[in-house]
């Protein structure tokens, strides 16, 4: 599946982005679901090889009826040094676009700067991912990795 990047606004034109007041990001529409057959609405999640795992805003855990703090607790921080934030991990079902359903262990954090992140564990180990910036807009292409157990 190939999907064009999505263009988001920037409040200030950025010098590293040709002074544009917007940025293109590789995003996919996903849903998260519990094993009690409750699913979230669709939301955009950025495809981010820099993230070690998938992270979603904690409101989705609330929506699924998960007891957020009953999950394994860890901490996350960004590339800019600053306070760490708690994150709790739960097994959830991830619906990727309209095409795939996979089971992942995802983190849920209250203070996430975006709606969702598709990271290495859970997403990149289930999909071959290709970022193509030779086109405009750029596209992200994903293909399911077939696993034989």
């Amino acid at each position: 599946m190939r999907k064009p990047y999505t263009r988001f606004p920037l409040d200030k034109p950025h010098p590293a982005l040709r002074n544009e007041n917007a940025v293109w990001e590789p995003q996919l529409h996903v849903r998260v679901g519990s094993y009690k057959h409750v699913t979230s609405p669709r939301f955009p999640a950025v495809v981010d090889s820099g993230s070690p795992f998938c992270i979603f805003r904690a409101e989705f855990a609330d929506l699924l009826g998960l007891d957020l703090k009953s999950g394994a607790e860890s901490e996350i921080g960004g590339v800019v040094a600053g306070p760490k934030e708690p994150i709790w991990f739960h097994k959830v079902r991830l619906y990727v676009e309209s095409n795939w359903i996979i089971d992942v262990i995802a983190g849920f954090a209250r203070k996430l700067g975006t709606t969702g992140i598709l990271g290495r564990a859970g997403f990149f180990d289930n999909f071959r991912v290709h970022f193509d910036h030779s086109t405009f807009p750029p596209v992200v292409e994903i293909a399911r990795i077939e696993k034989t157990n």
Partner: protein, 68 residues
């Protein structure tokens, strides 16, 4: 056809809250302090399966999270 350039739409949309967009992402059909509030507004606007997203206070270039 789905809209991939959300810059104009989101630039003018409410901030620091949840937004609900219609199917082709051309219109904000709901907002709220919670996801549920945004979905409810969308449903009242006739959109039963909206796309929801968190609109930050500021739209700035973001380098996403890492584990500490």
């Amino acid at each position: 056809m789905a809209q991939f350039d959300l810059s104009t739409l989101l630039e003018k949309a409410p901030r620091n809250c949840w937004l609900a967009l219609n199917e082709d992402q051309s219109e904000v059909v709901g907002r709220g302090e919670t996801v549920r509030d945004a979905i409810e507004e969308a449903k009242k606007a006739g959109v039963d399966d909206p796309i929801v997203l968190w609109a930050p206070k500021e739209w700035i270039p973001t380098v996403f999270a890492g584990e500490t």
